[in-house]
C-alpha cells in the first residue's frame, strides 16, 4: 500500500499537549516539513521560550533549548554566533515576542542575525489562562481586559511584521494564517522560504502566523477559524512585508 500521508521525520512521537483546535499543531508540522524538505534536522537547533509552546523541545526531534520569557532571539544569537553553519530557529508567542521580548526581537532583527523566527500571533496569553496580549484586538475580552480592550487605557494592538519591516536589516518577513487549507498552503511556502533564507546565509527571517486559541477565546475550533478571518486578518493583513532577495520579475 502506498503511503500518502505521514508524520514529518523531524517531529518526535510525543503526543502534543495543545488544546483541541489550537493551531500550534499545524505550525509545528509546517516547521518540521520545512526541516525535512531541506534535510537539515541534524544541524538544526530550535529555541522555545516561555508560552504554550515552551515544551516544543519534546516535539521537535532536532536539538532544542528552552529559554526565558522573551529572550529566545538573544539565546538564538548566542547559538548562531557559536555555530554559524548550523540552522537556528525560535518559536515564540505574541506575549513573548511582542511584549516582554520586544527589545530582543527588534535588536536581533536589526542586527540581521541569520536565524529564523516563527511568531505565533493569537492575540492572547494562552499558557497563563487568557490574558490580554499586545496583539489583542480593541474590544477583545480577556481575563485582564474583562470589559474588552480599551484603546484609551490599554492601547492599540501592535503589528510586528510591519514594525520590523521598517528596519533595513531583515531579509524576509511574511504574515500568514492557518485558518483554512489555502492559507495553510501559503503558510507552508513562507515557512520553507524563511528556513531557505537562513540556509542560504541571507539573514534574518520571520514568519508571523495568525493563529487561534479556541480555549481562551471561548470559541469552538470552527468559530475560532472564522474569527481569524473576520476579526484578526483585517487587523493583521496577510502578505509579504520584506523580501530583500526577491527575484526581479
Amino acid at each position: 500500500m502506498a503511503t500518502v500521508f505521514e508524520k514529518p521525520k523531524s517531529l518526535t512521537d510525543a503526543p502534543l499537549h495543545y488544546c483541541p483546535g489550537c493551531t500550534h499543531g499545524i505550525v509545528h508540522r509546517l516547521v518540521a516539513e520545512a526541516i525535512d524538505e531541506l534535510g537539515i534536522e541534524g544541524k538544526t537547533i530550535g529555541i522555545a521560550p516561555v508560552g504554550c509552546s515552551v515544551m516544543a523541545y519534546d516535539y521537535f526531534a532536532c536539538d532544542m533549548i528552552e529559554a526565558a520569557h522573551g529572550r529566545a532571539p538573544a539565546v538564538a544569537t548566542g547559538v548562531k554566533r557559536s555555530l554559524p553553519n548550523n540552522v537556528v530557529f525560535t518559536y515564540q508567542g505574541d506575549g513573548d515576542l511582542a511584549s516582554i521580548g520586544l527589545c530582543e526581537t527588534v535588536s536581533c532583527a536589526c542586527r540581521g542575525e541569520n536565524i529564523t523566527v516563527i511568531f505565533i500571533n493569537n492575540a492572547i496569553y494562552g499558557m497563563t489562562g487568557g490574558q490580554m496580549a499586545p496583539t489583542s484586538l480593541v474590544g477583545q475580552v480577556t481575563q485582564t481586559s474583562p470589559y474588552g480592550r480599551d484603546a484609551a487605557t490599554q492601547g492599540l494592538p501592535i503589528r510586528i511584521s510591519e514594525l520590523l519591516a521598517t528596519l533595513d536589516a531583515p531579509a524576509y518577513i511574511e504574515r500568514v494564517a492557518v485558518n483554512n487549507v489555502a492559507n495553510v498552503r501559503r503558510a507552508k511556502k513562507a515557512v520553507l522560504k524563511a528556513f531557505k533564507t537562513q540556509v542560504e546565509g541571507k539573514g534574518f527571517s520571520l514568519v508571523e502566523v495568525v493563529s487561534t486559541c479556541p480555549t481562551n477565546w471561548g470559541l469552538t475550533p470552527q468559530k475560532a477559524c472564522q474569527w481569524v478571518e473576520e476579526k484578526m486578518i483585517p487587523q493583521y493583513p496577510l502578505g509579504c512585508f520584506r523580501d530583500k532577495f526577491a527575484e526581479a520579475k
Binding site: G42, I65, R71, V75, L83
Partner: protein, 353 residues
C-alpha cells in the same frame, strides 16, 4: 617563564579568558568594567572570535546561555546594576546546569549608586543571584595576577561542576594596573568544547536530540534536579574552598577581608605587629563555597575577628556562621565607594580585645 606585562585588572581578565579558550564575549557597557568589553572588541575579530555588544544586560546573559548550550566557553561581564539585570539569566543557566563565566566588577549601590569600588553585592552573589534554590561559584581576586589566574580557574570549575562561575571583584581591582604573568599555554576553543555530550550543537542524525532546559512541571522531577544539584554543591564545598592565611601562625586576632581591602589590611597588620599586636588575616578566595573550616580552626586560637569590607558587614555573617558565634567579631567598613585607609584598619585592630 612567561613574560610579565603591565595590565589593568579588567584587561587581564579579558586576555586570560581568550587564553582559556573563550571566543565568545557578550556584554553591555557599564563603568567600571567597560575595559573588558573594549579589549574583547579589539581582540576577538582578529582571532576569529565573537565580540557582541548586546542591546541590554538581559540579552547579553541570554546570548551567553545560547553559546554555553553549544558547549563553547562563553562569558559576559558587568558591574552591580547590570548584574541585577542578569539575575534572571543566571538563574536559567543554573537551572539548565550550564557552565559560563560572569564577571562582576562591583560599584556602590543600591540603585544607580555610584561608580566607585564596592563589595556590596556580596550577599547577592554568594546566596545565588536570581530566583530559585541555587549557587554560583564565586571567586574573589585580590591582585591583577589573580584576576588572570582565576579567570581560567572559573571556567574550569564551572565546567567540572556544571554551574555558572563568577569573578567578583571591587572596582579597584578592575581599574588598577599591576605586572601580570599570563599563561603561555593557550587552550583551544575546540578543546574546551570537548567532553560535553549534553551540548545542543546539532544531532548530525547520530544521536537522540539534546535538550537544554530548566522546566519540570512534575514536582517530584523538579525536586530531584534540585537535590542532585545540591549534591554537586556539597562536593564543591568539600573540595574547592580556597583561602589565603597571612601571619596566622602566632595570631591572637584575625582580620577577614577580600579584594582591595585585603591589600589595605596587610599594611595595617604589619603596622599593628610593629606596635606589638599579634594579628593575622584569613582572606577568603572562594566566597562561595565559603572556606568555613579555616575560620572554625582559627576560632580555636584567636581572641577576636575583624572583618574589613566595602559594605555594611555582609561577609561578617558568613564568619559568624563559620565560627558559630564563638568569638566576638568587629567590623571596619567603608561604603559608597570609599576605601578604608591602612591607618583606619590599624586603629580598628588596636581596638580589638
Amino acid at each position: 617563564m612567561a613574560q610579565k606585562v603591565l595590565m589593568k585588572g579588567n584587561e587581564a581578565i579579558a586576555e586570560a579568558a581568550i587564553r582559556a579558550g573563550c571566543r565568545h564575549y557578550f556584554g553591555y557597557p557599564i563603568t567600571p568594567q567597560t575595559e573588558i568589553a573594549a579589549y574583547m572588541a579589539k581582540r576577538m575579530p582578529k582571532i576569529g572570535g565573537t565580540f557582541l555588544q548586546a542591546e541590554s544586560e538581559i540579552a547579553a546573559i541570554n546570548m551567553v546561555y545560547g553559546c554555553a548550550s553549544t558547549g563553547y566557553r562563553a562569558m559576559t561581564s558587568s558591574s552591580s546594576p547590570g548584574i541585577s539585570l542578569k539575575a534572571e539569566g543566571i538563574s536559567y543557566l543554573a537551572g539548565a546546569d550550564l557552565p559560563a563565566l560572569i564577571v562582576n566588577i562591583q560599584r556602590g549601590g543600591p540603585g544607580l549608586g555610584g561608580i566607585q569600588p564596592s563589595q556590596s553585592d556580596y550577599f547577592f552573589m554568594t546566596r545565588g543571584p536570581g530566583h530559585g534554590d541555587f549557587h554560583v561559584i564565586v571567586l574573589a581576586p585580590a591582585s591583577v595576577q589573580e584576576m588572570a589566574d582565576m579567570t581560567r580557574l572559573a571556567f574550569d570549575l564551572s565546567e567540572k561542576y556544571r554551574m555558572p562561575a563568577m569573578l567578583l571583584a571591587d572596582g579597584t581591582m578592575g581599574q588598577m594596573m599591576e605586572p601580570v604573568e599570563l599563561p603561555e599555554e593557550e587552550i583551544s576553543p575546540e578543546d574546551a568544547r570537548k567532553n560535553k555530550p549534553w551540548a545542543t550543537c546539532g544531532t548530525e542524525m547520530k544521536r537522540p536530540h539534546n535538550i537544554v532546559n530548566s522546566l519540570y512541571l512534575k514536582p517530584d522531577e523538579l525536586e530531584k534536579t534540585n537535590i542532585e544539584r545540591f549534591e554537586r554543591y556539597a562536593r564543591l564545598e568539600a573540595e574547592e574552598c580556597r583561602w589565603e592565611e597571612y601571619m596566622m601562625d602566632d595570631a591572637e586576632f584575625c582580620v577577614v577581608s577580600c579584594g582591595i581591602t585585603a591589600r589595605v589590611s596587610k599594611n595595617a597588620i604589619l603596622e599593628a605587629r610593629k606596635r606589638g599586636v599579634k594579628v593575622g588575616m584569613i582572606r577568603p578566595i572562594t566566597l562561595y563555597p565559603f572556606p568555613a573550616k579555616a575560620f572554625a580552626k582559627a576560632a580555636e586560637k584567636v581572641k577576636a575577628f575583624l572583618t574589613v569590607e566595602l559594605n555594611m558587614g555582609q561577609m561578617k555573617e558568613d564568619v559568624e556562621l563559620a565560627i558559630r558565634c564563638s568569638k566576638p567579631i568587629s567590623t571596619c567598613n567603608r561604603v559608597g565607594g570609599m576605601i578604608p585607609s591602612a591607618d583606619q584598619v590599624t586603629a580598628a585592630i588596636m581596638n580589638l580585645k
